[in-house]
């Protein structure tokens, strides 16, 4: 710590005082999920002051790992109260403790939410979600984006009700881009070409699921010829975690994280030194380093061979 100070005295640019965060860091605060915001509050006094007094960082509320398992209604109300009724985005990723009442209370106090993302919030019911959307879309307020993949018991009729509430007859949403499996997993608050509701009716199984397109070249050409063969939910068409192409029956290969990979991606990824299975990029943090070599060991081999 002290060495940093000595260095800072000579290298600091004119605008930045010694050891103070650059002004640009305060711009970034609005783009951070909740956990990172709370960690930033511990970094230094100026950041904590901004987080206590300023409302902007609290207007886009994204709750994901590692808070999602513990995040309940009480915490939700407390955190969203900092937005002072002007909350714009509410994204609860995999928050299984959030109930319908908690959600309705937050929405009642923040009627200007434009993005409501509730993937895999398993304590929510479909009627609760519909009620929440009704609360938001009364008084002509427009809800721009709704993500509900992972909510239990979603039926076709529920989807139709939601479409009626959300779709704008004056500005019908034009499908701009294709929905790819490997990109859907990347959570990005600011992708603009999202459809208003992420769940559709799968053309193959007719259930309400997220439907993906295929980036494989042969499937692309089929799409251009108007033959929409390779379009379905992840249960109907298994896809590679890394590149999103459909995995045909010939090459199903397993990764150490039990995700499916296509042969091309399997060949490129680094593999466990014991069982020769790779990790996909999403789970790459589960690699255990091997003493004395540059490779790694997967968690199972580590437990089985090294810890004994």
């Amino acid at each position: 710590m002290e060495e940093n100070l000595v260095q800072d005295a000579s290298d600091t640019p004119l605008q930045q005082e010694e050891g103070m965060p650059h002004e640009a860091l305060f711009l970034v605060l609005s783009y951070l999920p909740l956990y990172e915001l709370l960690v930033m509050a511990q970094v230094c006094r100026s950041v904590k002051e901004v987080l206590t007094n300023d409302i902007l960082p609290w207007l886009n509320m994204v709750v994901g790992k590692p808070l999602n398992k513990r995040f309940n209604d009480v915490h939700l109300l407390k955190i969203t109260s900092k937005a002072d009724g002007r909350l714009k985005t509410l994204a609860l990723l995999n928050c299984s403790k959030i109930t319908d009442e908690g959600l309705h209370q937050v929405i009642a106090r923040n009627p200007y939410i434009t993005r409501l993302w509730l993937p895999a919030c398993t304590s929510l019911s479909t009627s609760g979600v519909i009620e929440a959307v009704k609360l938001l879309t009364k008084n002509k307020h427009k809800l721009k984006s709704l993500r509900i993949n992972g909510i239990y018991n979603l039926k076709k009729e529920d989807l139709e009700i939601l479409h009626c509430l959300i779709d704008d007859e004056n500005h019908p949403w034009q499908k701009k881009g294709l929905n790819f499996y490997h990109e859907y997993k990347e959570f990005s608050t600011f992708k603009h070409s999202n459809p208003p509701i992420d769940v559709e009716i799968c053309p193959k199984c007719k259930e309400a699921r997220v439907v993906f397109d295929c980036p494989r070249d042969s499937c692309k050409s089929m799409r251009q010829q108007q033959k929409l063969e390779c379009r379905g939910c992840q249960h109907c068409i298994p896809r590679c975690e890394e590149c999103g192409i459909c995995i045909k029956d010939e090459d199903p290969v397993e990764a150490a994280c039990v995700d499916a990979l296509c042969l091309g991606c399997w060949l490129q990824l680094p593999k466990c030194s014991f069982c020769n299975k790779p990790y996909c990029s999403q789970h790459a943090d589960q690699k255990c380093s091997l003493v004395g070599s540059s490779g790694f060991v997967c968690i199972d081999c580590h437990a089985r061979f090294i810890e004994n």
């Binding site: 640009a24 711009l27 930033m40 006094r45």
Partner: protein, 221 residues
Amino acid sequence: MLYAIFGVQTFLQRDLELRNLSLFNRRKGFSYLFQKSLLFPFSISFFLSQGFIYLFLLSSRKSSSPAAIMSSSSPKMITLQSSDGETFEVEEAVAMESRTIKHMIEDDCANSSIPIPNVTSNTLTKVIEYCKKHVEAKSDEEGLKSFDAEFMKIDKDTLYDLLMASNYLDIKSLLDLGCQTVADKIKGKNPEEIRKEFGIKNDFTPEEEEEIRKESPWVFD
């Protein structure tokens, strides 16, 4: 009276011709025939209508409507001046990526060069490079993605300057891109690692730090 109107007519026609508008030429042929049989009240109303048409065409020219642009041969260039005095000439479409500059152009403050006092020439070069690419390759989503990834491979100071510039110039896509890059650097780190990464001094006492952690026990175990 008739000759006076004819005189005004030719004056208007020449004026607008200088502004390169072909629309008026059609008007001229029509109005010449009309003049031969004009009576006094008709001439006045006709003069008034010409005046209104002239004003309408002027205003549409000012707001750069597609009809006006189609008839001009080269794209309009905007001059930007950085804080250290260097000037940059860019196409209007590229400059309009910045909402700040867009409003200045629309309010007609952009006739000479636009000064951008808090942005240096290095940063402004990068900003213009970004805007140019995003205007040229608007439909190519994959190409833009790889460009953005390459574009963000810069050192921290340049990144900070880019963020401040895109905030001042109100270029939402660049601001989103830059902030997301920095946010990715923050994710997964504890406070000590963040301080090290961004060169921030810890000005909390250990007691204060403990107090912050106690405020939200459900967060920090």
